[in-house]
Subunit: 224 residues, 2 copies
């Protein structure tokens, strides 16, 4: 009953696998051959037992008494994350943030190929961007369909996000990364991840607040 089917990796683990992958790539570059769970966990900033449990979902990869083969482990994680094939993406909303994302080389080096950059502003049409150019949003569907794009990145204002999302989904996109501060509704088969930078700062603000509260006195304010 508590058995987890092979291939069923917990969500929290998946998020950390991406971190391990990055660390391992660094180790490969440094020609490191093997690494113990203790070392790897230290670099990745996690508990070593947690790391071993995470890796155990991929099967038995390590060698007791030795550790993990860096190259092999890296490949195994990449394969689990579906990174053996490059994934095609489109970016919608080429403003402030969109330009930064388009100019970032880290996506390509990690296996993501952007095949389209779309904006609604007619004045931006044709503007060169990252070895390509900005296309009109009207071409979204044809590019998505002809390239079999599976991931859409939304960097439009919040008001436009749901509309853009609907168009992406209708065209066949099944994963969305949303930078707009808005909640998207999508069918069950579509995954959405959001990046809410203002919320990140507010969470930090909360902890600042909590810390400064503790300094003055040990009293808890209570009304009523």
């Amino acid at each position: 009953m508590s058995e987890r089917r092979p291939g069923e990796i917990p969500e929290a683990t998946v998020a950390r696998l991406a971190v391990y992958l990055r660390v391992l790539t660094g180790l490969v570059d440094a020609s490191t051959v093997t690494v113990s769970s203790e070392e790897l966990a230290a670099i990745a900033g996690v508990n070593s037992a947690k790391l071993r449990k995470d890796l155990s979902y991929l099967g038995s990869i390590g060698t007791r008494g030795v550790g993990y083969d860096v190259t092999l482990l890296r490949e195994k994680i990449a394969s689990s994350l579906g990174l053996t094939q490059r994934r095609t993406c489109v970016l919608v909303g080429i403003g402030n943030l969109g330009h930064a994302l388009a100019g970032y080389s880290g996506f390509s080096s990690r296996g993501f190929t952007f095949v389209g950059y779309f904006d609604a502003d007619p004045g931006r049409m044709g503007e060169p961007i990252a070895d390509s150019q900005i296309s009109d949003i009207s071409e979204l569907e044809s590019v998505v369909e002809s390239n079999g794009v599976s991931i859409g990145v939304i960097a439009t204002p919040a008001e436009a996000a749901q509309t853009v999302c609907d168009r992406l989904v209708d065209a066949g996109v099944t994963s969305i990364l949303n930078f707009a501060p808005s909640v998207l509704s999508v069918p069950d088969n579509v995954d959405v991840r959001k990046v809410d930078l203002a919320a990140e700062l507010q969470i930090l603000s909360f902890h600042e607040h909590r810390k400064s509260r503790g300094l003055g006195d040990g009293l808890v304010e209570s009304v009523g």
Copy 2:
């Protein structure tokens, strides 16, 4: 033992409070007076029981049979997140991403004031940016100390992140938002949140992989 001290809000709840706050601000703008947990939860995209439990950590705010006073609830959440005072921040690393962040108006409108933009590139010194200008990284400490800055945002390359982080912490910053793909070590009293965009795409990639696996056959690939 299972009692939670008043003021002790779970981490998962804090993250959602930021979302509720944004939704409520929208409702205030639309002159909405009261809202039920069911309505608010629908807009925020969460389960209504979860929302009520989240709000219950702030005290008893709603009115049974009626719902929540939008303005009051908004203020209560803002206060819990420590947003009654504006928070001062600095941004380090004014490249691709740094420019986008500096040009974003959403931070200021949500209570965050950036009092310094720093870069190590001498060629960028004095370049105008967001009603201010780029300062040399050597001025970091004095600006942080004289403004009582509590939040530092790092948008430098990964190699520089730990060094910048150490300087921020030494200067008195106690919260850090890190965009560089690197794990930062900090003292216990400092909070770090990281935004790893490539990891976000990799998590989506995992789910794409999982989805496409289920389509072909029910077989699990296993290498003996």
